[in-house]
Amino acid sequence: MAGRAQPVSPAAGLAAAALVAAVILGPVAAVLWRAEGGRGLGPADWAAIRFSVTQAVLSATLSVALAIPVARALARRGFPGRAVLVTLLGAPFILPVIVAVFGLLAVFGRSGWISDAASLVGLPPLQIYGLHGVVLAHVFFNLPLATRLILQGWRDIPAEHFRLAAQLGFGPRDSTRWLERPMLARLVPGIWAVVFAICLTSFAVALTLGGGPRATTVELAIYQAFLFDFDLGRAALLALIQIALAGSAAALALWLSPGEGSGGGLDRMTRRWDTGGPGLALWDGALIALTALFLLLPLAAIVADGLGGLTRLPPQVWEASLRSVLVALASTALMLVLALPMALAVASGRRLAGDGAGILGLAASPLVIGTGFFILLNPWISPASLALPVTALVNVLMALPFALRILIPAARDTAQGYGRLGLSLDMRPRDWLARVVLPRMRVRLGFAAGLTAALSMGDLGVIALFADAEAATLPLQMYRLMGSYQTEAAAGAALLLLALSLGLFWVFDAVGRRGAEA
C-alpha cells in the first residue's frame, strides 16, 4: 500500500478546503443572484472603476520603483540596526490600516508635523485627502512589503556569484548588469502585480483618505450603496464588478508570481566586494535613513499623540476592545483548524489549497463576501446580530492565503523529511500530529496565528457593513471617533489598537518560538 506521504490522511484537509470554497462561493453566488444590471453602470460606477485602477497602478508602481533602490542599499550595506530595520519592514503588514492612516494624518495631514513646519516658512499646509493621500497610504504599506520581497531576491543570488564577481573585478555597475538586473526582471513584475491586487480592493484607506465622487474605490462604492442608498441590488452589481476586477488582478499576480522564496535569513548579509566608493555609500545611507523615517515618523506620531488620550477613553472603546480581542482569538482558532489540515494535505501531494485558496482569497474581497452574507442572512435573521461571527469568519478567509503560504513549506519539509520514517514506525495519526507535526511546525504555526490575530484585530472592512451602534469593533469605534472629531479619544484608541495588534502577534509568535529548536 503505497502513495501515502505521512501517517495522516489528507481527508481532513480536503474537507477544510471544500468548506472554505463553500463559504466563499456561497456569498459570491448570492451576489450573482441579486445583482441588478437593469440600469447598467452609471457615471459614478465608471468613476469608481477608473479610480480603483488608477490609484492601484500608481501605488504599485511607486512602491516597487522606490523599493528597488532601498532593497539594493540594504543588500549591500551592513550597519548597526540593520536587522531591526528589516524586521520593521515587516511591521506594516500587521499594522491596523486605520491606525496607520491616523499616524500618516498626524505627519502629513493639514495640521500635521510637516504642515506645521511648512507654515513656519510661510508655505501652505499639505492636502492629504484624495488620490495622493490614498496612494501615500498604500505606499506606506507596500513599500516595505516590496522591499522585503526584492531583498529576498538579492539574498537568493548565491554568495558564490558575488565572490566570482569580485574575482572578475566587477564594480557596482557590472553587478547590476550581470547579477541584479536578471533577478529583478524575474521578480519585479510579480511583486508589482501582488501590490496592484492588494491596492485594487482597498477599503479602509479609501474610506478614510478618499471618498467623494473623485476618490471612491469599487470596494468603497459597495459600502456606500449599502449604507447610504440601502440599494442591495446596486451593491451586488458593484460586488460583481469587484469580483471581475480583483479576480483578474489575482490571476495576473499568480501568473507573474516568481514562486515562494525561502523567506528566512533576511537579516543576514551576503559578503560583498562591489560596494563602490563613498558617494554610493552616502546615497545608500540616505535612502535607508529616509525609508526608516517614512516608516517610523507615523508610528512615533501614534505613540506621541495617543499617550495623552489613553486615560480619557470613553467606555465604548474598552467594550469595543474586548469584542475585537474575542473576534481576533476566534479567527485565529478557526484559521488553525482549517489551515493546518489543508497544509498537511498539500504536503501529502494534494494540489488543492495552494493556488486555489490564493486566488479565492485575493479575488473575493471582504466587502464582496460581506455583501453576499448580508443577502443570504437578511431574509432569515437581522444581519447586525451576526456582525461579529461574520467578521471573524471573513477575517479567517482573508488571513488564510497568508497562513497557507507560511504553513505549507513547513508541512512539506516535515512530510518529505520524516513522513517515511513515521510510516515505517507505524505511527498513528494522533501520535504523528502530537509528536512530530506540532513540534516541528510550532514556530510557523505561532507566526501564522500571530499574523491572523493581528490582521483580525485591526480589520476594518466587513464590520462596517454589519455593525449597529452597539456591536462596533475597536477599529470601527476608532473610525467613528475620528469621524466625530473626538481627536484625543481617537488618538488614545489608535495607540490601544496598535498595542493590542502588535501584542497579540507577539504573544502567538513568542509561544511558537518558545522551546522550539532544530
Partner: protein, 238 residues
C-alpha cells in the same frame, strides 16, 4: 539451498516509483546478508523502498515467510529501514527516538525504557539518552538509528545507504556493527552500496540492479571476481 528456505520472495514484481519502473523476480534466503549494487539511478533505492512499502507495485507480489505483504502499509511490514537521511527526529531526544521503535506513541513502561537504555549501551551511546541528534556526531547519530532498529526487532533490515555521509573508517565501523547486530538477532539484511569492498566485507550475496531490472542474488566473491559486463563498467575495471 545452503541458506535454508527463502524468506523474502518478489514474484513477477513491477515497482512504480513516480513513473520510473523496476522489475524484480527474486528471493532472499533467511538470515542472508545481501548487498544491492548497480549504477546510480538504476533502481536500488526503489527496490528497497518497495519492500518497505513506499512505492506502488502495479503487478506481482511480495511474500514474507509465505505470507503476502504486498498490500500492507509500511509500519505493518516485517522490516526496519534506514534512509540516507531523516532517520532521527531532530526535536526528540535520542532515547525518545529509540523509544518510538517500541511504541510509536511513546507510552513506555519501565521494562521498555530499560530496553531503550540497553539498546543505546549496546551501540556505544550509553549515558547519552537525553541528547538531541544535533548534539551528536554523524557517527553517533548513525549508532542511535541502529539502536532504534535494534528495539524495533524486525526480521528484515533494509539499509538505503544510511552511512554514505560518514568517512571510510567510520562507515566500516558502522557496517561491522550492523553485521554484529544482524548476527545477534538473526535478521535478514539488504543494503544498498556503491563500494565493492563493503559488499565483500559483510555481504554474502549481491543483487545487481541495472536498466530497471533487479537480478536474483548471487554469491559475492564469485560475482565481484568475475563481474558481468554491465557491472564491470560500473565498477570501472577491465
Amino acid at each position: 539451498m545452503r541458506w535454508g528456505g527463502a524468506v523474502l520472495r518478489l514474484e513477477d514484481l513491477i515497482i512504480d516509483n513516480g513513473g520510473f519502473r523496476v522489475a524484480a523476480t527474486l528471493q532472499v534466503p533467511k538470515g542472508a546478508r545481501v548487498a544491492v549494487m548497480g549504477p546510480s539511478g538504476a533502481g536500488k533505492s526503489t527496490l528497497l523502498g518497495a519492500v518497505a512499502g513506499f512505492h506502488d507495485t502495479p503487478r506481482g507480489r511480495i511474500l514474507w515467510d509465505g505470507g503476502d505483504i504486498t498490500a500492507l502499509p509500511p509500519g505493518k511490514r516485517p522490516c526496519a529501514i534506514l534512509f540516507q537521511d531523516g532517520n532521527l527526529f531532530p526535536h526528540l531526544s535520542i532515547a525518545q527516538n529509540v523509544g518510538l521503535g517500541i511504541d510509536p506513541g511513546l507510552r513506555l513502561n519501565a521494562d521498555q525504557r530499560a530496553r531503550v537504555t540497553r539498546a543505546l549501551a549496546r551501540v556505544g551511546l550509553g549515558g547519552l539518552d537525553d541528547r538531541k541528534p544535533a548534539q551528536l556526531s554523524g557517527g553517533q547519530q548513525s549508532r542511535a538509528a541502529l539502536a532504534r532498529v535494534l528495539v524495533q526487532d524486525k526480521p528484515l533490515l533494509l539499509l538505503d545507504e544510511p552511512f554514505a555521509a560518514l568517512g571510510p573508517a567510520l562507515k566500516a565501523d558502522m557496517l561491522e556493527l550492523v553485521a554484529e547486530l544482524a548476527a545477534e538477532t538473526g535478521a535478514t539484511l539488504m543494503m544498498v552500496t556503491h563500494d565493492p569492498a563493503d559488499a565483500r566485507r559483510i555481504a554474502d550475496q549481491v543483487i545487481v540492479v541495472e536498466d530497471g531490472v533487479a537480478h536474483p542474488p548471487t554469491a559475492t566473491a564469485a560475482l565481484l571476481d568475475h563481474p558481468p559486463e554491465g557491472l564491470r563498467a560500473y565498477l570501472g575495471r577491465d
